[in-house]
Amino acid sequence: MRLGYSVKQVQTLIHRALFWGVWSSGAVMAAGLLLSALAPSPNETSAAVAMAGVLMLVLTPALRLALLCYGYARAGERKFALIAAAVAALTVSGFLFKK
């Protein structure tokens, strides 16, 4: 069952997600560094902004997996949509590990 999504469209979706994921997280990190440089003393806000950028970057591959799941589901490739969902679940389960 094809629902109107081609391989090329899935590729374009992933290209955009990775491109914007990297550069937007880079911009947030740069903003955090700028805030830190402009502040007269070390502050929590700049570190929090930089950390938000780092977290956005770390979650970019998870976003890519979620979009692969969506794209393959739209293309009627249920098997690969399920694999993408399984890998996404595995990836974000790293949050559960605490020493």
């Binding site: 290209h15 830190s36 780092v54 591959p61 692969l68 993408a84 595995l90 389960s93 790293g94 020493k99």
Partner: protein, 278 residues
């Protein structure tokens, strides 16, 4: 952190990015020793930082390779089940190991990498060329095709021995999660030699996978509080700038002699790291 230290870190990131894009090696091989030996960053924090820079370079390069059709997304996704599971296990194991044990394992990995790079450079100097042929005429559901700009031909290939590749990929993921490297040193030969994927597609697919493998283990380190935001941000921005510059400016610089020289540098780093363990 003062301005001089910040500039040094951004410069280190840029240098790692340039080396990575010119030689196709993960930045962790250089970044982790530099952070541990010269910036005195604890080993676990250095591994976490390296994993995050790997996500940045992998995602930036994969964005291009996916659009060109060079990265085989179905194959990458299928192997990511194994590498992500291995990465989670590797990162958790790293959190249980002492910094000295991790340094020892990392220095052993550096010895192996130096040897592999030296042999590759030597083979290229002697004119021995690797095969880059397709595995099978039947591409199957995991097979793929891409346009090779060097030969101006469309290359079609199949994928074989997936069960074996899946098992070995667990080890590649574990190594990545435990030592903060990309894992391409295992994944590329695995896809090329075991699965029969042409080298260019294997390298692009491995790069595509690295982001997910590194993210799985980076989240473990993040949860354990092993991420230093300012330092990581500086290095990521440096690595991204270095990778972009490396791809545009230095592609023609790649030489077999330079690769051999670099392998000697890695050997020297391995000796320094190894001697610091005891």
């Amino acid at each position: 952190m003062d301005i001089a230290q910040a500039a040094l870190l951004a410069g280190l990131g840029a240098g790692v990015g340039i080396l990575g894009s010119v030689f196709g090696i993960g930045g962790g091989i250089f970044l982790i020793p530099a952070l541990v030996l010269y910036f005195h960053v604890p080993m676990h924090f250095a591994i976490a930082t390296s994993l995050i820079t790997i996500i940045a370079t992998s995602s930036a390069v994969a964005a291009v390779n996916v659009e060109r059709g060079l990265a085989n997304m179905r194959l990458g996704l299928s192997l990511e089940v194994s590498t992500a599971a291995g990465a989670l296990g590797g990162a958790y194991a790293a959190s249980l190991l002492s910094p000295s044990a991790l340094k020892l394992l990392f220095s052993l990995l550096l010895f192996f990498t130096a040897g592999t790079m030296f042999r590759k450079g030597l083979s290229a100097l002697r004119g021995v060329k690797g095969e880059d042929g397709a595995a099978a005429a039947q591409t199957g559901e995991l097979g793929g095709e891409y346009f090779d700009h060097a030969t101006r031909e469309t290359v079609r290939y199949g994928v074989k021995k997936m069960p074996a590749a899946s098992v070995i990929s667990v080890a590649a993921g574990a190594l990545s999660g435990m030592l903060g490297i990309g894992g391409g040193i295992i994944q590329v030969p695995l896809m090329h030699l075991v699965c029969g994927v042409p080298l260019k597609a294997a390298a692009a697919t491995s790069n595509f996978m690295l982001g997910v493998t590194a993210a799985a283990s980076a989240l473990v380190f993040y949860r354990q509080g092993a991420v230093i935001p300012d330092m990581t941000a500086l290095l990521v921005i440096g690595v991204l700038a270095g990778s972009a510059a490396g791809m545009k400016l230095l592609a023609g610089m790649k030489s077999d002699k330079l690769q051999m020289a670099l392998s000697l540098l890695i050997l020297a780093i391995a000796v320094k790291m190894f001697s610091g363990v005891f």
